[in-house]
Subunit: 338 residues, 2 copies
């Protein structure tokens, strides 16, 4: 198995910069759009053979250093008795908003309710000659979906909830931390070699709210998962929280395009390998602009003890697949640090 990405995550030497791409299995691929003509998102998530197909599609085209399990972030809610619809182009929408009292007593995760995910991972392990990344969200991200009930720009209901219902918030976050750790441990047991914890919008919080109302539960989740496989923590628009992130028990810290890897290194020093951080919109423009920026990022990455090349956020549906192929090959052609 190609171990380049695992070595970078463990801050060991690599022959060249490893690369994978957030949402690499997705709507920018014609073969994925064909799959979606015949099956809903929910069907693809629930049927292991369809999950395998969607996961493998980008690996057939691009020399990526890892596959990432195809799934929806909120899938584990199906194992917690919460119903939601995956609305195309809009994201998940809860069928019924939960009250603060209901949120405080969310049931434990029923692993049987998400067995299809573990089944797909076992199938994928047989097919793949490179690492498979598993994933879930952090407790804040799940709490915010449950409280808002629909996609939001800066999560005012969630911020109001954590200020107004501190006890219910604590109950919710504790349960989510346990459930999401259990879900990730199930993925690791089934065979993933790395995990990413998505907390994309945690940057809406102040450092104080993050420290007091989120970090204890995120820590609990990460500690329960353990360091058997490398853990990546991902968020966006969160540079003001980096000083709080310094002590998180993970191996890799995701960085979005809003700050440079060098700026991030200024705060994280060599505590973590860093992952990132190309602005996904550069894949829509001119190739020379794309490669100029990629060159800057690879150069900055060589000053780190570990760097995994990725976008700063998910790939956009309008991206031409041939641009992705060019980027992946170009990054690999740069070789090891000079």
């Amino acid at each position: 198995m190609r171990e380049r990405i695992l070595n970078a995550a463990r801050r060991k030497p690599v022959d060249t910069t490893p690369i994978w791409i957030m949402r690499q299995a997705g709507r920018y691929l014609p073969e994925y759009r064909q799959l979606r003509e015949r099956h809903s998102m929910e069907e693809i998530c629930r049927a292991p053979e369809l999950t395998v197909e969607a996961t493998l599609q980008p690996l057939r085209r691009f020399d990526l250093d890892a596959a990432i399990l195809f799934s929806d972030l909120l899938v584990p809610l199906w194992g917690m008795g919460v119903s939601f619809d995956l609305v195309e182009g809009r994201g998940p929408v809860l069928q019924k908003a939960l009250t603060p009292a209901e949120l405080a007593v969310l049931p434990p995760l029923d692993l049987g309710g998400v067995e299809f995910t573990f089944h797909a991972i076992r199938l994928l392990r047989r097919e793949l000659d490179r690492p498979l990344i598993g994933f879930t969200g952090g407790p804040f991200t799940f709490a915010s979906y449950l409280i808002e009930g629909k996609p939001s720009r800066d999560y005012p209901r969630t911020r109001a909830f954590l200020h107004t219902y501190p006890r219910e918030w604590e109950g919710l976050m504790k349960r989510l931390a346990d459930n999401l750790a259990l879900y990730l441990k199930g993925q690791i047991e089934a065979g993933v070699q790395m995990v990413q914890i998505f907390d994309s919008w945690v940057g809406v919080l102040s450092p104080q709210d993050f420290r007091e109302r989120v970090k204890p539960y995120l820590n609990a989740q990460l500690e329960q998962v353990g360091n058997g496989v490398p853990r990546i923590y991902f968020s966006t628009a969160s540079a003001h929280l980096f000083p709080e992130f310094v002590t998180l028990p993970v191996e890799v810290m995701g960085v979005d395009w809003r700050v440079s890897l060098t700026q991030a290194k200024g705060i994280f020093d060599n505590t973590y390998a860093l992952q990132g951080n190309l602005d996904p919109t550069l894949l829509l423009g001119h190739e020379e602009d794309l490669l100029a920026k990629a060159s800057t990022i690879v150069g900055e990455g060589r000053m780190l003890v570990g760097h995994i090349f990725n976008l700063g956020h998910g790939i956009l549906p309008a991206t031409p697949p041939e641009r992705v192929a060019r980027l992946v090959d170009w990054v690999h052609a740069q070789g090891a640090r000079g």
Copy 2:
């Protein structure tokens, strides 16, 4: 006229911390909702007597240190031949997306097309015994509305545009800077005593993109406006850009709730008076939590050479008006720095 807020903006001594509230004229007020039952947003913006009524409503209830002109951010587009609809609960939506070529040659602002705004300001000046704040957006904010055509979370089309069409971007930003400066100068001439430049979502950019693709045009706008009245620059989720903001020609820097005033002072030192930065969701919760946080903010503000109390972003429609009254009176009761 009560000059407290102007003195704070000019970093002169004040008897107590001045306060105003972003979106203080708006949907949380029953009398505003009544007005909106009879008139559309567009009607209120276009009819000077209705603008005056909406602007004055919060001042009849609360002892605010300034009024802010009631208007929509995009009103000056009507003076640039661009049509859009104000869609309730969703924001402005363009009637037709403009091509890059059309954007590059946006027409100069026709001041006659926004004369109703200046008329409303002249009427308000006769009624008010305290400063009136005028406002508009920065060129990035206007460019992003024109390019996206509808509200967006992280403005991928705008980021793609500025990377892909640098020449068209430059043409658009130059014209917007000139037009928006002209619009603000018209407001100042008509009688506003202070202006706020809203660049709420500029934080989606990297420091490099901000420095190279936004700052020159923002500077041009601000310099054309001049320092005859204090200028406030407002953005959110932009702490990673603060080092770039240090040299902007403004008197007051807005700070959202994501960073503390003390953290902001660490970067801005005493270059600017600071405005902010209560999380608006605290107005929805318990009064003791609200006042505890307000106390922290007033205390931090006393360590600055100039502080204007405000929320970190607009007031939420669900806010109880009596909570606002309590906050305003409580802030004033704290007196001058000890």
